[in-house]
Assembly symmetry: C4
């Protein structure tokens, strides 16, 4: 009999396979999960399995208490971070964690990615935020949970669907979206923004941010109530 | 019955497909249009459709008043910028807008790309110009029209066929040419010039521009009245 | 009759072929060896043979005194470096030498790669060490042996399985592991760490190292006695 | 009847096709020639023909007076530069001109590429030399001839087979070798050296050159009278 989570696992698997295809990770440096909000479960990549060997059946289904509902492999070691985010970020249906090269470069510098241009403003209306470096106390507690908490701390006054990405200081990026496909898209966009900003800063270390008027215009062209980008 | 714009749409489609092939854009970050000057219409990419799914029939045909003449999809959100340019830049038969990585890096720095070498001078005889950042008033008016106006402002004393590319400050590049194929070629060349200039500036921040004598020599070797590059 | 070293040679060959596939070397700029500790021999790439032409039978089997045990081609000119390392680095079963671009960039700067983030700490708990530049006396002696000696000097107080990589100053990286496959993995990870660190330093020349608490946490998550990354 | 230059043209064609395969040029930004020293002719790429369309029969055969001996297309606009080099650089059997990205970045900075490491010393025992910027008088004379003259000026006290590459200031690199295949190899090595040196300089702007003792050791390991790299 087929698993009742088959469709969810397939979707999580396909989103995971986009990670190496888009050049967002080598080996096992990333993971994607897909939420079924109604069922209260998400499917996630197993820990340490390289993408070349990844099969739909390898996906692990976990409920929002962190219990494995289906699957024989150990889920990603970052599962509890995904868990904390799903529990708290309303409307999020997919989460991506990668160590994509340029975004990680910024995370390692503990710096937000400045909103230098409209490519950035087309996707979020502010710098890509960067968390604090985790305290010794938090590291001692439940590390993966605390990674999620730090992201939440950073999003206390932010709308996660308007700013669907974050840098974890000293670590690497997380991105998300209403669907797992959108989450992967946001992870790929983030890497491109990170590379463009690296280039801009290299050319002109004092480059100015995009003026607010243009940030708002571009963001609303795609995301505002009168958005007119794309097909209806 | 086949559309009388079929050939134009096919040409626009083929030129659009070069964008991802040349690595000039990810996802939907770019668009190409092809003009039929006699018919007074141009075919352009529909808004928000990824290249992998793009079909010839998706192309939207628009006249020089901005009215859709053929096509069921919404044209690129940048259509009115193309429109303004076709109306004012004599001899231009194809226009490309991308967010290619290095050219966008310079546009975000609000800096023209210095003419450091003969690769550059083979294609244009001056720095790649960069527009002003758009004023609040212009943003409030018709944003895409105004983007075109800013480019025109920048080309008031320039020959658009001699300088077939521009950076829109805080945004990204536009390139054009007598044909859509030539426009894509110019967009790819621009990205390469932008990368080379980034490297040169990284090695030597005070690098000098190519002396005028060499600029003129290279430009005229390819474009002057006694050009001797290529086949007749 | 088939060589009794066939399996070893095949393993060495497969590991060598990963080098161009992972983009770690052009032409002949790299070599991998695989040790059979029980037999006291290792199989290594022949000198100057491009990867496209490399066959299993080309592998040269050498004993730990440096005598060729099997093979008609000359072994890699770096063979004596591998030899010195196998003799002295306990538990190492595979060694990789490449001139991968970013790691070589750091080696040429005579600088260790700072441990800026968790991608790094997932693999080693300190900066990627960099040897001294070789003295005139050592160059005059047996150059390849001395390259090995310099690495050993650098590892006098290090556990080679905890820090499975090194930069040879003015030269390029070496990486190793318990198996040849793991050694290639470490070489690819090193190149990625080198690129990320280049980016971080470009963004923020005074970027801080990852705090110790996070270094230990990440390293132990994967390598400590209570490691919980990957499948059991 | 088959051309008596067929083998030469085929060899030149194959060497030209390596240029895009190795990522050394986009569109028509490069050309390779192959010399038949006995016949006193060389085969060279035609001007402005993209690599994707290049056929063996397109190759143009030119004698050492610059007369076309065979071929219906116009030869590369850089033909007279190749001519000057073949006439003066003894032992050279193939010449490559590209605008490869990193090497051109250095040429645009008018700076030789410092010999930072052994990858470099494996191929030449000094910095990659950079010519002077061409004077106004020379530009007015025969530009392509003068480009060759400038390279010769730079090689007055150099052995072209020991230093098989040069940067033409404000322009781009030339590389050569005893055969066209070796010339392409040197062009690809040059691009890699240029990229590595860019990275080293980015990490450490005051990085020291490789000490002489190591330069000599590595160069002689491959090229000296007692070379022991590669197969006999």
């Amino acid at each position: 009999m087929e698993s009742k989570y088959h469709a969810l696992k397939e979707r999580a698997w396909a989103a995971n396979m986009e990670i190496p295809r888009r050049g967002l990770a080598i080996y096992t440096f990333g993971n994607v999960s897909a939420l079924d909000a109604r069922a209260g479960v998400f499917a996630i990549k197993p820990s340490g399995v390289p993408y070349e060997q990844l099969q739909v059946e390898h996906m692990v289904v976990v409920d929002l208490e962190g219990r494995i509902v289906e699957g024989t492999l150990r889920p990603s070691s970052d599962t509890r971070t995904h868990l904390v985010l799903y529990r708290n970020l309303k409307g999020v249906g997919g989460i991506v964690h990668t160590h994509s090269t340029y975004a990680t470069g910024w995370a390692q510098a503990h710096l937000p990615i400045p909103i230098y241009g409209t490519t950035h403003a087309d996707h979020l209306a502010e710098d890509v935020p960067c968390t604090e470096v985790m305290s010794a106390e938090a590291v001692e507690r439940d590390y993966e949970m605390e990674t999620g908490q730090q992201i939440l701390e950073c999003f206390r006054h932010r709308d996660p669907l308007h700013t669907p990405m974050v840098l974890v200081a000293g670590h690497a990026p997380f991105a998300w979206g209403e669907t797992p496909e959108k989450a992967v898209y946001n992870a790929a966009v983030l890497e491109e923004l990170a590379k463009m900003a690296f280039i801009t800063r290299g050319i002109h270390p004092e480059a100015a941010r995009l003026p607010d008027r243009l940030v708002r215009k571009h963001f609303e062209r795609k995301h505002g109530p009168r958005a007119y980008y794309g097909q209806k």
